[in-house]
Each structure stands twice: as C-alpha cells, then as structure tokens.
C-alpha cells in the first residue's frame, strides 16, 4: 500500500467523521469544528489521490487544496462570528430546532 493511498484513506475517514458530527451534534461550535474536520479530510483525500499516479506529483490538486484551505479559514471565521451572535441573542449556541437538546451530548443519557 502506497503512502498516498494511506493519506487518501485517512482523508476519507476524516470526511466521514466530520459528516457524522455535523448531522448529529447540536452545539454550533461542534458543527463548525465538524465542518473543519470534513474540510481537512477533503483536502487530504484530494492531495493523496493526486499523488497516487506515480511520476511527478500533479500540481493542480495541490493548488486547489491551498485555495480551499484559505476559503475554509475565512468561512470558519464567519461561522464563528455568527455562532457568537446567535449565542448572545438567544442565550444558547444551537439552531432553533435543537433548542431543547442537551448541548453537551453527555454519553449515557
């Protein structure tokens, strides 16, 4: 198994973990983190898959990933600012349909 395949597989794993948390967790900070984990997984998957061909590494996926990283940083900053506003305005960092839920997601309940 080549190291590029390992990177791509790890990226896919991160992507799945991120989607899982994004859908199931209620706290908006967790959702923002989940989107970040998803993004990191997508970047790792792209770069890993781009390096699997053997020969010279394809620069196009790398350029796309660095563009993606910058977009992901700015989207995270905007999302965090929105989470703060929601928490100030409503007293709870959750979407309206998740207001009733326990935001700490404590296990065993």
């Amino acid at each position: 198994m080549s190291s590029a395949l390992l990177y791509a597989g790890a990226g896919m794993g991160l992507l799945l973990v991120g989607v899982w948390a994004l859908v199931l967790r209620a706290h908006l900070l967790r959702k923002v983190l989940a989107i970040n984990v998803m993004g990191s997984g997508a970047f790792l998957l792209l770069v890993g898959a781009g390096a699997m061909g053997g020969g010279p590494v394809d620069p196009v996926p790398q350029a796309m990933v660095i563009t993606g990283i910058v977009v992901s940083i700015s989207a995270t900053a905007l999302a965090l600012a929105l989470v703060l506003r929601i928490a100030y305005a409503t007293g709870k960092a959750a979407l309206p349909e998740d207001r009733e839920r326990d935001l700490m997601d404590r296990e065993g309940r």
Binding site: M52, A63, S74, L78, A81, L82
Partner: protein, 228 residues
C-alpha cells in the same frame, strides 16, 4: 438505551442508522475509485509543458496565478466577502481588559520584527519554491494577531488610511490586472508572455497585504472601533 428514554430532540436510532449506511456507501464508492487506480494521466505533464511561459518556475504557483487564475481571483473575493460579513455583524468585542503578561510582550518583541522578513522571503520564494502570497500573508497576519492580543499598537506609525482600503486592495489589483491585459485580443487573466512574471509578482504583493489584513480583521471578530 432505547429511543423512548431519549431526551426530546435527540436524533433517533433510525436517523443514525440511515446516516451510517449513507456514509458507508460513500466510503465504499471512494475506496473503490482509489483502489482502481488512476483513470486519467493527470495534469502534471500539461503543467510542465506550459511552465516556461507561465512567469513562475514553481508549478503550484503557475497553476494558482496563471493557469487557474480564476480560482485565486474568486478566492480573494470570498476572503473579502467573509471579512465584510464578520464586520457587518457589529462592532468588535473588547479582547483585552487587563495588562498583557511580560512573557507575551517579550515574545512579541522577538517575533513581530521577524514576521515581515519571513513574509517577504515567502512572497519572493513563491515563484520558484514552495511559498507564495497566502503563506506570506498568513505570517504577516500572525504578527497582527500578536499585536491585537497584546493590546499594543505598532510603534512605527503606519499610514492612517482605513483598514478597509487595504482589505480590498488585493481583489482590486487582481481585477485591474485581469482586465488590463484584455486589449490586444487576449482573454480575461491571459497574461502577455514577457510580462507574466512581473504581473504575477504585482498581484501576489497586493494579495499578501490584503490577506494579512483580512485574516487579522477576521480575528478581531467585528468592525474595529476607528473604522467607518
């Protein structure tokens, strides 16, 4: 734990099961595609063939600023839109109420003077080695963040223009260059061959300043007090 004992609003077992099935299916599809190997030869050959005309000898920089200049132009637009969004939510929260620790101030006096130097190196290295506007801008933004968390102002008097001018400069210069090459029958962003290197450096320098200001502006978390 049965779904009956679940607190109200908690996602049920059915939702979890459907989600798990969907994710496993997606994973299986991607894994099959990865194991099956490369279908197309990739673009490294095409990039290498066009590299001498691109104005940069580092293939990633050539892709970012020449072959796929649209991506980078629109990325600057996304960054500018993000900072406009954050600033429009309200004034910046006060970050520091107490006196900063001497450790932070001592570290600042070492790190902040180094930041412009590293920034200039990364910007210049981008044409031939790993580096470029985003890395350089991020280093400069880190110096800005150190200033912000220490609550101090730069001792050097920076030009007193509003921060928003610097924030739109990167997108503005990029758009101006993209449009300025059009007379003479060229497409948007199609640099003339002899000028490509100089134009890329001009775009990258403006982008570095803007990226640094945008990242610092995002860190502030709202519109700065002295900003109109």
């Amino acid at each position: 734990m049965s779904s009956a004992s679940r607190p109200p609003g908690e996602p049920g077992l059915l939702l979890r099961a459907v989600l798990a099935l969907l994710l496993l299916a997606a994973a299986a599809g991607v894994a099959l595609a990865l194991v099956a190997g490369q279908v197309a030869p990739g673009l490294s050959g095409a990039v290498a063939a066009a590299l001498p005309d691109s104005g940069a000898s580092n293939p990633v920089t050539a892709v970012l600023l020449n072959f796929r200049g649209y991506d980078t132009l629109l990325e600057m637009a996304v960054l500018t839109a993000a900072v406009v969004g954050v600033w429009s939510l309200g004034p910046a929260p006060r970050i520091r109420e107490t006196e900063p620790s001497p450790v932070l101030l001592g570290m600042n006096s070492v790190l902040i003077p180094l930041a412009p130097l590293i920034c200039a190196y990364l910007l210049w290295a981008g044409s031939s080695r790993p580096g470029g506007a985003f890395q350089a801008g991020a280093v400069l933004a880190a110096a800005g963040v150190l200033f912000i968390i220490s609550g101090r102002r730069p001792a050097v008097h920076l030009p007193a223009a509003p921060m928003s001018w610097g924030i739109v400069a990167g997108l503005g210069v990029f758009l101006a260059v993209a449009l300025a090459v059009m007379p003479g029958g060229r497409e948007l962003l199609e640099y003339p061959r002899g000028l490509a290197g100089a134009l890329i450096l001009l775009v990258e320098t403006a982008a570095t300043v803007s990226i640094a200001l945008i990242l610092a502006g995002l860190f502030i978390g709202g519109r700065p007090e002295d900003e109109p």
